[in-house]
Each structure stands twice: as structure tokens, then as C-alpha cells.
Symmetry: C2
Subunit: 353 residues, 2 copies
Amino acid sequence: VREAFITIAEYGEFALIAAIEKTLRRNANLIVGIGDDAAVVRAPDGRVVAATDMLIEGTHFRREWSAARDIGGKAAARNLADIAAMGARPTALLVSFAGPGATAVGWVLDLVAGIEQEGSAAGAVVAGGDTSSAGVVMLAVTAIGDLEGRQPVTRSGARPGDVVALTGTLGSAAAGLALLRAGVTRSGSGLEPLIQAHRRPHPSYDAGPEAAELGATSMIDISDGLVADLGHVASASEVQIEFRTTRIMAEPISTPHLLARAAAALGGTGRTEGAGRRKRPGRLEGTSPVQGADPMRWVLTGGDDHALAATFPPGVSLSERWTTIGQVSQGNGIVVDGKRWTAPGGWEHFSTW
Amino acid sequence: VREAFITIAEYGEFALIAAIEKTLRRNANLIVGIGDDAAVVRAPDGRVVAATDMLIEGTHFRREWSAARDIGGKAAARNLADIAAMGARPTALLVSFAGPGATAVGWVLDLVAGIEQEGSAAGAVVAGGDTSSAGVVMLAVTAIGDLEGRQPVTRSGARPGDVVALTGTLGSAAAGLALLRAGVTRSGSGLEPLIQAHRRPHPSYDAGPEAAELGATSMIDISDGLVADLGHVASASEVQIEFRTTRIMAEPISTPHLLARAAAALGGTGRTEGAGRRKRPGRLEGTSPVQGADPMRWVLTGGDDHALAATFPPGVSLSERWTTIGQVSQGNGIVVDGKRWTAPGGWEHFSTW
């Protein structure tokens, strides 16, 4: 098709916007959509939940590592997950796109398709946006959501005695990124699920409202890494949070065998506490040892899987998708396997404030 | 102070966010602010109005031409003006900032101060955001607002017989940008108001809700240029819009004498239809003639002043800040001084969809 070859500079801004508008579907949340000064979206609760962040080529993704559809999906997912982590239901997305004039129109339309697809999975409609020119591709997405009458679940409500539970996966995206960085991308390695986890997370958006209904006292989207993000909760709630790695270095939270194989392929130890692998597979040809290629490190500090952590009053009855990993006590900071965590936590390359 | 010299890379992300958080004030719109996964903002109307766009170094501003505070103010103003243009009252801003690690912390705090200052002028609170690293400074701002029970004023409601009215200024920012591009920035030239207009617009945010109350049938924030934006209204409303340049090449909409002096300084004609200047001031030393340095062109196609245009039913009684410039009739497209406008309209370097 024509859009696969023509560039956005040749197409022009108004034509690009018209082409984007044509591909988008509407839903009942949308009162005024693309084509006006601003979007108008239903906010039946009388409060609106909003989160925003940027995905920047070179910092957060590379076009040679990820397809446009995955980049768009990831940009949407990051913000939709933040809405869910407040216990809210996403309703709409706003998107600012900037990129070089030589970018193919088809690439931008694929990007938008990824955003819409992910929004749609969460119940959110693409309501508006903006296009600019820039030296690299950058994507700023704002997600908004509705609390449906519930109180927002913040980071500050954890209380001593609460249990800490998790849904989603940890470590896969970090391992996938390490594989991509090292050039270990050949198909047939069996490591594709990790690479795909870096390319595009699949948060369980409805787990957020579910946790709120179940009485979650605090909740956070794991985007800086488990230790760093539970650290945010501990700090905001003025409590100590303890957890055991045996609970997270196991299915369904992580895939220890796959992570160990990835670490081995990268020249790491491949040994994973709790995973019990004995044989250490050899490093793949043509790769160099990667510092920090360690399953435990990926699981504790990797930030891009967008698992959801929440604290609940003791005795709560959780659905199957939640795994209890620890508990809240008096004090402060994070205790892992009985030892106080003192390392500079998490993946401080940029998060939400 | 320390923040003037230390870089954001040295400071670290969490320290930067904490420093930003400390500078920000709260208001009654804010239920949950910075420091959680997402912000929660009052939306008493039950609908939320939202607009977003990006300001990118090199594309939209240069750090050597504009102070951090003005860049922040401008990024906020563009989106706040979009909210006002729907007839809504801004309530909150979300901000994504990205920049080189070598950026001074003090510079970023000034940027945020500009955003907060502009938000505050419009009644909006900085509710949340995100920081990233990037090769150049980029700023994505989302503004949200409340309709206070009014119907949104879209681009599609203009009807034959309506009058077209304008509040704010036209052409100053475009002239100021041309002066900066040509290096005409010396103080004492008397042209500083134009340069300042480029650096930071000052939209009349309350004119939007006022127009809605007065029964505006359509409304648009002039960001692509008067002809292009009235063209959007004509197209969305399926009407023709006529206006006379005598009304816009005059105070209070434009400053024809100042624009003529700027054009002359840039080697343009300096003659402005309707402005009646006879003497042509000489071009400033050390500058080359600038193509398109023409007051009429700046006023008709310049997009960065953020004037507000609206259509009203005939016989409407408008407050003093509105200037009637034309009327709506059956047909399509734009008619300027009785002649159909056929030039490729406006400043298509990127706008809101």
C-alpha cells in the first residue's frame, strides 16, 4: 500500500492526522474525539484518574528491535497500567507523536494501531493527540480512567499485618532487553518469550479494579522494579515490607528456567536461587558475557513487565491470579529473605512522578 | 544555589522528582497528586476535556532564544488554550519532561515553575508527570478541564448568519520568531514585545467559558494561523467564513506599526494594508532580507499567539475583549476581503488532532 512507502513529510501533517483518524474506532466513553481543539470523555465518577509518560527512541526502544505496533502497544500499556494501579478503569488515551520527516506513514499508522489495540484491551478509546517533527521517534501517551465510585488505591495505605500479593510476571522484560542488547535474537533459541516481553507488556488491567473491590490498602504498578516499587509503598505508607524470593523465583510470577537459560546464553551464572537448575548451558556463540545477567537481579529490579503489587488486610480471599509474596510490618524499608535490602534499588532510568 | 550547577544525571531521577514535587502547590481540584501511579483530579461535570501536545527543542523552541520559565509557560499555555477553546475551565496539567543528562537541575525547576505559573493563571494544578532522558529537551503537556455543565463548543457548530469574533492578538509571535531567526534580538529596538510574544503566549483562558455562556456556536484556538483555523471551522461546520483584514490589521488584534517595523528591519516591505505607514524604516545592520517578512502574512498565517476565534448567533452582545471580524454564510472555505482564499493555509508544522 501507498502508506508503506510515502513519508510523513511528503504526506503532510493534516493528511497524516486524517489518516490516523480514519483508522480509529470510537466507543461510548468518547463525546468529542479527534478533530477538535480537545477531546471530551465521559467521567461518570466525578473524578478523573490520569497518568502520562514518554517512550523515546534510543532511551526506551529501538526501531530495529521492536515493530511499530509493539512500540505503540507498550507506550499505551505503561500508562493504562498506572490507571489500573489506582483501582480505576481506563477510559481514554491521548497521544503525542513526534518523529523524523522520513518516517513512513505506514509505520506511524502501525504505531497508532498498537496504541488502539492496547487501549481497546483495557476499555480505553484513543480520544486525541498531536503530531510534531523531531530527530527521533517519541511518543507521549496520557491515559485517563474512571474510579466507578471506588476510592483510589494509593501507595500510602499499607498497614502492618497486611499481606503483599502480586499478579503478572517479573524479570522477563529485563532479560529480553539484555538479550537484545547482546544481539541474542536468533529464532529457535526458545528465548523469544523474554524478548517479546520487553517489546510489549500485557498487564492485567482488570486486576486493578478487582484489587480495589477486594479491599486493597495500597497498590503499585511495578515499573521501576519490584524492590524499588515496594520501597515506594513502604516509604509512602511508613511501613516495612518483607517478602521471600522463593515466591517470586517460581511460576507463575517468573519463569526461572527460561531466565536461567537467558543468563547462561549471556555468559552469566545461569543459577537461580529456588530454580534448582544444575546444568549450566553454554554461552551462545558470538556473544560476550553480560554484566548482571542474573535471573534474580532481573526479577528483583527489572521494571518493564508491569506486574501489579497490592497489599490487602490479613485474611483476604484473593482470586487465583494473585500470589502472596510477603507481608507488611512496622518499621521501614524492604526486607528480602530476612535481610534488609540496602542496594540502590530498582531501575532508576525514569519513572512516573 | 546548588541546583543551578548540578546536572539531572548527577542528581538522579528520584531526587529530581522530589525537588519538583517540593516546588509545586496544590489546589482544590487535586485529590491525589505527584508521587503515586496516577493523579486523581475532580471532574464535577461528569465529563472531562483533555488536550495534549509536545514542545521539542529545535522544532518549537531553542534554549538560547527562550528562558526555561517561558518554555514551560508556553508548553502549558498551548494546551490550556485548547481546553478554553472548548468552553471549559482548565483543572489540571500533566507533564512529561525529557532532556540530556547534562541539563542543570535549576533549569528544569525553572521550566516546571513556568508550567505551574501558567497553569495557575488558568486555574489548573500540576497533578503529575514523568521524567526521561533524551538527546534534546522535550516537553509533553496534557491539560484537562471541566465543562461546568455547559455543552462543549466544537468546531462544527457555525451556522450561516453567525458573526465571527476574535479575542487575543495575531501575528506577533510569528514576527518575533522571524526576528529571532534573523538574529534581530538587540534590546532597544522596540521590537521586544514581538520576541516576547514568540517566547510565551498569554491566552485569555476565561474568554472560552465566557464565549460558551454567550452562546458561541463554534470556537477554535488559533494555533495553525487564522486562515487555516477558520478553515477548520468552515470545513467542520460545512459553511463559508468571510472576514475583512481591516479588522485584524488594527489594534487590538494586531500591532500593525510594530509589525511593519519588524518587517522593515528584516528587509521586507514594511507596508501593511490598513496600517497606513508611509515611511519605510531601514533594515537593521547585520541582517539579511527575510523571505515572507510581511505583516499581513504573519497575521493571517502565524500560529503561536493563541488568539481565540468563535462564531455567535447574529445580534449577540459581546464584551469589549471580542472584536467582530466577519461572518458565516452558506458555502465552503474562507473568503478574505471578498476574495476566495486558495493558498495552502496556515502554518502546517504540526498541530492538534
